[in-house]
């Protein structure tokens, strides 16, 4: 029986776990938090699938491919869209409580960029209800959870480029441990947390899996592509769902005038808002005309959050908004079987790049991706592990990481890493955000290189061994620094504009030079980048 180690317990991890278990593997899920506390709980909109007669799978494929701006892989998009109806049926069969339409079918709504209403949803809680349904099924299957395990590194045999397991910090005890397995799946989520208070993401979205993967020799793809959501609350970046505009909400500038088509694709609306704000104005979302009854019924979360975080009531007042970092299109480069460039190391969900979103993700395709590719990845990892059992060989990773966790306590703390982290988030939002140029990007790269040198002068100030969240946050900061360099180098290399990557100094798309994926990896600690088909 193959032993499959899954790292990360959001939707992608739990679907993979159920699939690997179904395929006969022994499954262990290690995660830095409790499964139901992951980012998936925040997904609101829905999960795309063609179920009715008024829509075709080809339309879903075409919409997704068009939105990907040349970086989507047609075969994998086709695979995902064709599997979508089956994925919805699977979710329904395990108990996901979908909202229903008048005839009792699973209800669908139209999201941005879709030619038909095809996002199946469960009120504004699609991600929350999916995640909890999956968790219940994992308990039923008796899957082993190791919670509060913070991923440090993957264990890789350098001779054979074969993954053997991973090392973790047991947050509660403060001990470093290793878990060996025949196959490892990374499902650790995206890196939106890098943008700090300018991101709609959970504070946990620090890209730990991607950073560990690149340290282990895996390749990353298209890291410069980060989707910005047009409407997040101005002060807190808490998401105001697209359904507020879908239902007829207006965007107003500081003169209280409309300035853009509210239902254009996300990147276009976000840039229009960005331009208004850059020109010294504020931007507001106006839903007052929708009426109190409608708002209470359709947007209750939004009303509550605007009251808490902006101190305004959207029924009577304008909502101050700004665009915020929302989804990481870039991720670990994987093949059609979800395996990375390291043998036995798989990746799935937002931390992977399945080439289904390309340069711009459609709303409703991320939950779909994690179910379709989760089922696929779990079975593949199980099969790989059964065919190629992991060799029992010595490896120094555990000793190295134990030493690191011990040694980091002696870092000098002359520089406050929380302050640097806030600065990194600000310069990323301003220079590696919606609008980029060569000079701004290079300035950020300089700042990152400086922070890399300064890391030994930072470190955790809390010296406790047990449950040291200051230590965890410092290692997360290290991962952010590791990834930020890769993102900026990718963004500097791509001297064109495409999807979410907009260069004001090269505003046109250039397929001849850049119609390819930005592949990045490290060789002996040196970052390498190239464009590859």
């Amino acid at each position: 029986m193959a032993k499959v180690l899954i790292i990360g317990s959001g939707g992608a991890g739990l679907v993979s776990a159920l699939s690997a278990h179904e395929s006969g593997a022994e499954v262990i899920i290690a995660s830095k938090t409790l499964p139901t506390r992951s980012q998936t709980s925040m997904a609101q909109g829905g999960m795309n699938a063609v179920l009715g007669a008024n829509d075709t799978i080809q339309n879903h494929i075409d919409d997704t491919f068009r939105s990907s701006a040349g970086l989507g892989d047609e075969a994998r998009i086709t695979f995902m869209c064709e599997k979508a109806p089956e994925a919805i049926r699977w979710c329904n069969a395990i108990g996901l409580p979908f909202s229903r339409n008048k005839s009792g079918e699973i209800a669908r709504r139209r999201l941005g960029g879709a030619s038909a209403p095809r996002a199946c949803y469960a009120q504004d809680y699609t991600g929350l209800k999916l995640l909890h349904t999956l968790y219940d099924q994992c308990l039923k299957a008796g899957i082993t959870f190791k919670n509060e395990r913070f991923l440090l590194n993957l264990i890789v045999d350098e001779e054979t480029n074969r993954v053997l397991g991973a090392t973790f910090l047991d947050i509660e005890s403060g001990e470093v441990e290793e878990i060996r397995a025949d196959a490892v799946i990374l499902s650790t989520g995206g890196y939106g947390g890098l943008y700090g208070k300018h991101s709609t993401n959970s504070v946990q979205a620090t890209g730990d899996g991607l950073a560990a993967a690149v340290r282990a020799g895996a390749k990353l793809a298209d890291m410069e592509f980060v989707q910005f959501h047009p409407t997040a609350l101005k002060n807190s970046s808490i998401l105001i769902s697209e359904s507020a505009r879908g239902a007829g909400g207006y965007l107003l500038n500081s003169h209280k005038e409309r300035f853009t088509d509210e239902l254009a694709p996300r990147d276009i609306v976000a840039r229009a808002i960005h331009d208004e704000i850059t020109n010294g104005g504020a931007v507001y979302l106006d839903i007052r005309h929708l009426g109190e009854e409608f708002i209470n019924h359709e947007l209750p979360q939004e009303r509550k959050l605007a009251q808490i975080y902006e101190g305004i009531d959207p029924v009577h007042e304008l909502i101050p908004i700004k665009p915020s970092a929302h989804y990481s299109m870039g991720g670990i480069e994987v093949d059609a079987h979800c395996m990375s460039s390291v043998l036995g190391l798989f990746a799935v969900g937002e931390c992977a790049n399945h080439k289904t979103h390309g340069a711009n993700r459609l709303g409703g395709n991320s939950l779909l991706e994690l179910v379709v590719f989760g089922l696929h990845c779990g079975a593949n990892a199980s099969e790989y592990g059964a065919k190629h059992p992991s060799p029992i060989i010595d490896n120094h990773q555990l000793a190295k990481d134990t030493n690191f966790v011990r040694g980091v306590m002696y870092f000098t703390n002359q520089i406050d890493f929380y302050q640097k982290q806030e600065m990194l988030a600000n310069i990323f939002y301003n220079n590696v955000g919606l609008v980029r140029d060569d000079m701004g990007l290079k300035a950020v790269l300089g700042a990152i290189r400086q922070m890399q040198r300064e890391l030994p002068f930072m470190g955790p100030r809390d010296k406790s061994k047990a449950c040291n969240t200051n230590l965890v946050e410092f290692i997360e900061f290290g991962n952010k620094i590791e990834l930020s360099e890769i993102i900026v180098v990718s963004a500097i290399s791509r001297v064109e504009s495409r999807g979410a990557h907009y260069r004001i100094d090269a505003p046109a798309r250039n397929d001849q030079m850049f119609g390819a994926h930005t592949i990045t990896w490290k060789e002996d600690g040196v970052l390498c980048a190239d464009f590859m088909q």
């Binding site: 139901t36 209800a107 959970s202 955790p460 047990a466």
Partner: protein, 235 residues
């Protein structure tokens, strides 16, 4: 503003004086951790009330830190009925333990259509974010630490009451021992739920369903002191 936080190292409340007005408790704790005292330890995630990480007690009442705006002099403590790991971080293993004991999952279901009204039957119960506020507020744990408890029983009712479930009766068996009959129906779990779920009502519904299936309240006899045998012939 003065905020008192119970620290686990010496089991006393530490007072922090913060110059922030009209912000959430989570914002204040983040300010303390990153600017004043990095040893202060707590859990958080989404900042928007869906991940269930940040439940604590303020002046003895359960709240989510990301939704609560503190007042001068508030005292913040970890939630109850579970082991404190450090400061406001508690052992979350009761979530897995009680949901597994209660078999709170779908056993088998049918695919057919169900109406919007029928789907509404489990809408509120499936809004649960497993923040464990209800569990912290429950007084039964003082006498029975094995009580399956409010969040897990609500979850069982969510599956029993799901029209797609084909064998919902079988789910009732798992909640007879240390389950529905151990609840005192005091209702402490209801006002603390950030998602407006009423576990007490769900437990009442599970009791009715159990009675219909022939299960009996094992405490019914004891309630009368065991001395009155009204149903027993006198000869």
């Amino acid at each position: 503003m003065e905020i008192n936080v119970l620290r686990s190292a010496d089991s006393t409340a530490q007072c922090y004086n913060i110059e922030l007005e009209n912000v959430t408790l989570l914002t204040i704790l983040n300010h303390i951790k990153t600017k004043i005292d990095p040893t202060l330890t707590y859990s958080h995630g989404c900042r928007s009330g869906v991940c269930g990480s940040c439940a604590v007690r303020v002046n003895g009442r359960e709240v989510l830190m990301c939704e609560y705006k503190p007042l001068d002099g508030d005292t913040v403590e970890p939630i109850r009925n579970t082991r404190v790991i450090r400061d406001l971080v508690v052992d979350s293993s009761p979530i897995e333990r009680f949901n597994a004991t209660a078999k709170a999952w779908s056993e088998d279901s049918i695919e057919g259509n169900i109406s919007d009204e029928e789907a509404h039957r489990i809408e509120t119960q499936s809004d649960c974010i497993l923040c464990t506020s209800c569990y912290s507020a429950c007084p039964v744990y003082a006498v029975n630490p094995d009580f399956i408890g409010p969040f897990a029983l609500t979850r069982v009712w969510r599956y029993v009451n799901d029209l797609r479930e084909t064998n919902s009766d079988a789910k009732i068996a798992a909640v007879q021992t240390n389950g529905i009959w151990d609840c005192t129906l005091c209702g402490e779990c209801v006002p603390v739920c950030p998602q407006n779920i009423a576990p007490k009502q769900d437990i009442t519904m599970l009791r009715m369903k159990s009675s219909m299936l022939g299960y009996q309240d094992p405490n019914a006899g004891i309630a009368f002191g065991g001395g009155l045998d009204f149903g027993t012939p006198m000869f």
